[in-house]
């Protein structure tokens, strides 16, 4: 679901099929999509740390 929301930040590992973040720093222009991705995660696995 996070890949659907924000493919610029989330990638899928071809070995195990799990999603991961390409970079822990999220560019400003992807911020909104990233927030939607966090809200769309059924596992509550995405945490946003504001800096």
């Amino acid at each position: 679901m996070c890949v659907l929301a924000c493919p610029e930040v989330f990638l899928v590992n071809d070995e195990d099929g799990h999603a991961y973040v390409a970079s822990e720093q999220v560019e400003k222009k992807f911020e909104e999509a990233f927030r939607l991705a966090a809200k769309s995660c059924p596992e509550r696995a995405i945490q946003i740390v504001e800096e």
């Binding site: 071809d14 070995e15 099929g17 939607l36």
Partner: protein
Amino acid sequence: MTKADKLIAFDHHSREHTRTWVDTYRHLRANCPIAWTESHGGYWVITRLDDVVTIAQDTENFTKRKWQDENGTWRGGGTIPTMSGLLIPDDIDPPEWKYYRHLLNPWFTPKTVAHTRAMAELVASLLVDAVIETGRVEMIEQLASPLPTIMTLQMLGMPLEDWREYAEPSHEAVYTVPGTEPYKRAVQRLQWGEAQMGAALKARRGNPGRDLISFIANTQRPEGDHLTDIELMGICRQILGGGADTTTSLLGNVFIYLSKHPEACRRLRDDPKVAPFACEEFLRFFTPIHSSVRNVRTPVTIGGTRLQPGERAFIAYASANRDEKYFEDADTIKLDRFPNPHIGFGAGVHRCLGSHMARLSFSVLVNEVLRRIPDFRILEDQAEQYGTTGVVNGWVRVPATFTPGRRENRDPDLAKRLRLGS
């Protein structure tokens, strides 16, 4: 609060549940989100998304381990009553779970699954060919059941022409109640397929093909041992069971919905971008795997209620997917709903292994039906829902009519092999 304070009349296998689950779950979420029922020896009924996900993710305090007692009766596991037969990795707890799951994950990644799209499209075309000149189709038996089953057999490396022998008892085993006569008959029929897979496992050790059965038959643990026969059959049973019935149930529900909502059909045809979101929304709304079960290992507090070792917790995915806290207008299908944190594939370590395969089979068949028999109409008075929908929310039979069309004849040899001639 004691069990007596939280006592409700609830049986997820009852006919009444099939009729009333939406209202029952809504009421429980609001008034008694951790409820106790005395049905089937007693179990907790967990209905809010937060609590369901917490339990599904908590492998310290909860177990899914399944075993046979001294009388040979199956205990534990992820269903109430416990279904017979070990599923691997579903009925295994971490840390052992991790070995099997990591072994199988590479076979089910989006990239691996994407390679099977052409095959899925070909089979879908042949399935529609078999009915298109008649103007009549039984959407479960002739479309929704064969495609996922054939794709699963292809991955396992079993003869595709036997698909009926695998598909039919797989459905029967989920729409009958464990312990009843029809259930026992279904399990007996399933043993034919298990014997076939057992023979293939033996024949392919040392003589592998490129299929999943060859892969597991030749897998060696770091210490050098092969997997045992029980482990190998547990994996085969899991993959067949997971592949053969779940996507079918989703498709049955969605075809009925689409037949009543031509505007949704138009939108899916005209706006391909909406399709992936619609697929997730259908998974949320219909929740083909309606529930799972976790068994309490150590005393634990969930939503303010103390659960004790040995008790069982029924986690209602279908209810969690209608939780008002997470889903606005939860009882309405919004094709482009987003965000959509549904747990149609479960949550935690046992989250569905085949989710990407399910999405692929689902979208290929829906596209094929919308493309070739777009005016299909379900004969609702002849449609028959599963006798019990508390575990798998599916349909025995969904007949439809449509304006006849032409065959595409993309692969007559395969059509003949699959015995799809009409």
